[in-house]
Amino acid sequence: MGVYLAKRLGYYVVLLVVAICLSYLLASVALDPRAYYAGRQPPISPAAVDAHLTAIGVNDHTPLMDRFGHWAVRALHGDLGKTIDGTSVNAEFGRRLGVSLRLLLAGTIIGTVLGVLVGAWTAVRQYRLSDRVVTLASFALLSTPVFLLAVLLKTGAIWFNNTTGTHVIQFTGESTPGLGGGFWTVLKDRSVHLLLPTISVALFAIASYSRYQRSTMLDVLGSDYLRTARAKGLRRRTALLRHGLRTALIPMSTFFSYGFLALFTGATFTETIFGWHGMGEWFISSINDNDVNSVVAVNVFAAVVVLLSGFLADLLHAALDPRVRHA
């Protein structure tokens, strides 16, 4: 099994390197950093623009391969270069990563756990009213794009605030700027800001995971070993959780890893619409600014997330399935 995981890891590293190189070349060819300085008041002289672009290593008069070489050497030392404003990409990366994590963590955990539980529950209650209602609701949710749900939540919050004449639900940014007060005031303020993004992230996770979990659980429910477990005297709940759900979770590990990618893409919308300055929002703004180094940084991040979650899925699979573990 160690060999299997090592092989997977090696494959992932090769994929990662190729993906990063390609995304650098793609971003360099497709984006035009010069456009960022066009139309400024007062106008910036072409020489100054040239000097600045050369300084941050994205001058399109330098041959592409030279730029790539410089970037790659620095990237190997852990330095992802400078943003188009001349600040360090690494610093920006760290700051934005924190924001994204704070935004997504609660929603993902709540959504995954609830999604698995809801899926297993609806499988046990197949074709009853509760199953039908949950199925229809998750179908409707899965048919709603992330940005639409986020906008709807926001609209609902505005309506709620207007009708009650309060400002209970906050939906812009991570915290109220310039808010004083002690720890509890800050914590309350932050959780109020987190409310809507968390609902939006969690709802999608619940909707999609519960569908998968329901079908894997249904496959397990009819199995002989579950009947044996009941026959040897286990309580229904114990049999379902220890023997049923555990087995039904194995195929889910793959879906969890695909879910991370969807989550990241979804975060682009959630962050932009709720005004959080995280990785997703950075991506949209860096494309609009033609900021090559930042775009590549976000791509690196996304590729690492995808591959890490793929590797995590392999590990999870090994942990849950003894056949893989002992193979």
Binding site: L15, L16, V18, A19, L22, S23, L26, A27, A30, L31, T135, F139, A140, L142, S143, T144, P145, V146, F147, L148, V151, L152, T155, I158, W159, N162, S208, R211, Y212, R214, S215, T216, L218, D219, Y258, G259, L261, A262, F264, T265, G266, T268, F269, T272, F283, I284, I287, V295, V298, N299, A302, A303, V306, L307
Partner: protein, 310 residues
């Protein structure tokens, strides 16, 4: 000897081949119609297509015409869905946007399914280095967050118009389907009829087209159906951020983006487009699910839904 007892050998070969196919189609159709959700979805889809393609002919407003006497008017007899901030008829715009979104969704699903089935079948059929190379390409494209790559490239393709956008969406939407086709092909390759064809000297591409692909067709049909919904979602999402369909052309995504700031104050600018989008994707998903149950009743209800959304 009467015709009813004609030995099978004498019956026209084509008729024999046709009979089981026709009855299977009937079985599938019967199962599909019995599924209430799928039937509702199909009816809604037909209605939406009618609306998208006949809609422009039932209103005398053009989607880009401006009525200076009616700015931000709520729905009325004159403007069925009201007007927007510069006096354009929201019904005409919504219908036009729906039409564009549906066209994009259909074309993307078609292209990506064709690509997926060819790549998957070749990888599975040839095996060896072809397989390894193609699967590396698949993994590579899966590692790239497709949304990000499309967002980077699509501004460069603006001169190509919406068809270039369709191509871009298709290029990033086929990978998981290809994987499934590949694994199905690997098991088909060892089946007797494929081996027989191979030993009779039929060329590999002919075998793939004539013997492999028809046997994965039912999966491809289901997958393509669901891909339409996924493609429409990607299209609207990209257009929402300005990376997709460009003005003056409209799609559901651009309409939703334009209507968002006034969703509370002037709801008609936002909710007609948003509602139609959700309705369409929901109907596609219901039909896809019903097709799956009808074609392969042993498959679980939510099986095989893939992360094609967003």
């Amino acid at each position: 000897m009467t015709t009813t007892t004609t030995p099978a050998v004498l019956v026209d070969a084509e008729a024999v081949a046709e009979r089981p196919a026709a009855s299977r189609a009937r079985v599938v159709a019967r199962r599909f119609v019995r599924n209430k959700g799928a039937l509702t979805g199909a009816v809604v889809l037909v209605a939406l297509f009618l609306m998208a393609f006949a809609g422009p002919y039932v209103t005398h407003w053009s989607y880009d015409a401006i009525d200076y006497t009616a700015l931000r008017q709520p729905p009325s007899a004159r403007h069925w869905f009201g007007t927007n901030g510069i006096g354009q008829d929201v019904f005409a715009q919504t219908v036009r946007g729906l039409q564009k979104s549906l066209l994009i969704g259909l074309l993307v699903a078609l292209f990506s399914t064709v690509l997926a089935s060819l790549v998957g079948a070749c990888a599975g059929y040839f095996g060896g280095w072809t397989d390894r190379l193609l699967m590396f390409a698949v993994d590579l494209l899966l590692v790239f967050p497709s949304f990000l790559i499309i967002a980077i490239i699509s501004p460069r393709l603006r001169s190509g118009g919406w068809l270039a956008f369709v191509g871009l969406l298709a290029v990033f939407g086929w990978m998981i389907t290809a994987r499934v086709v590949r694994s199905m092909t690997i098991s088909l390759r060892e089946r007797e009829f494929v081996r027989a064809a191979r030993y009779m000297g039929v060329g590999p591409f002919r075998v793939i087209l004539r013997h492999v692909l028809p046997n994965v067709a039912s999966f491809l049909i289901i997958d393509a159906t669901i891909a339409v919904g996924g493609a429409v979602m990607s299209e609207t999402a990209l257009s929402y951020f300005g990376f997709g369909v460009q003005p003056p052309d409209v799609s559901l995504g651009t309409l939703i983006a334009d209507g968002t700031p006034s969703a509370v104050t002037y709801p008609w600018m936002f909710f007609f487009a948003a509602g139609l989008l959700v309705l369409f994707v929901l109907a596609v998903n219901l039909v896809g699910d019903g097709l799956r149950d009808a074609i392969d009743p042993t498959a679980g209800g939510g099986r095989g839904r893939k992360g094609g959304r967003r």
